[in-house]
């Protein structure tokens, strides 16, 4: 069975601090996708990244970076120099790569960036 665990329910940091959101996953698949989504107060799910299990390179996009460690089944997300606009719920998610595979979400981490 597939499972995504986001142990941090809620995090508060002061603006400009760096913050890391943890994600640990379980799957029996040898090939899979990992995702991060942002859900601001308006409710939409904003796609941030998809990572193929074959690709363990870390990725950086502006202030965002992701650390994929297959050995520990983790896919952590770091926001550098956080801003108030980063306040949202962040979901880590997992899916297989086949036609019938659906995306399984973690419970989410609510991030508060304090001015």
């Amino acid at each position: 069975a597939q499972k995504v665990t986001q142990a941090q329910t809620e995090i508060s940091v002061v603006e400009k601090e760096d913050v890391t959101l943890d994600c640990v996953y379980e799957t029996r698949d040898t090939t899979y996708y990992l995702f991060w989504y942002k859900q601001p107060p308006s409710g939409e799910l904003v796609f941030l990244i998809r990572r193929n299990s074959f690709d363990e390179q870390n990725e950086i996009s502006g202030r965002y970076s992701w650390n994929f460690q297959k050995s520990t089944s983790s896919f952590n997300f770091t926001i550098t120099a956080s801003q108030v606009v980063d306040s949202a719920v962040y979901f880590c998610a997992l899916s297989g790569v086949n036609r019938d595979d659906k995306i399984i979400f973690g419970k989410g981490t609510r991030l508060h960036i304090l001015p």
Partner: protein, 116 residues
Amino acid sequence: AAGVIQSPRHLIKEKRETATLKCYPISRHDTVYWYQQGPGQDPQFLISFYEKMQSDKGSIPDRFSAQQFSDYHSELNMSSLELGDSALYFCASSLVGRGGLNTEAFFGQGTRLTVV
């Protein structure tokens, strides 16, 4: 390019009424997924369709039904609405490649259903 379109964006219904949510996938996408997100919860998979056939089914109540039409749009029909059905309903679409592998799924903006 246009993303996944869901309508309506907001819907208010009374208990025991019926609701129909619509999803228009990205052009040429052949797979549609429906998710339900209750207040403070993570999105939960309801059902998916590939090439107009039901592909997978999650924890979808018997009161709900869905289908995908010839133009690939999908509708989620919800009958005998209950207060607990109040949630955000997301639709996502993807394209299954020739090898049967999914491209990434793109989510619509969601429909917020309130049952009163």
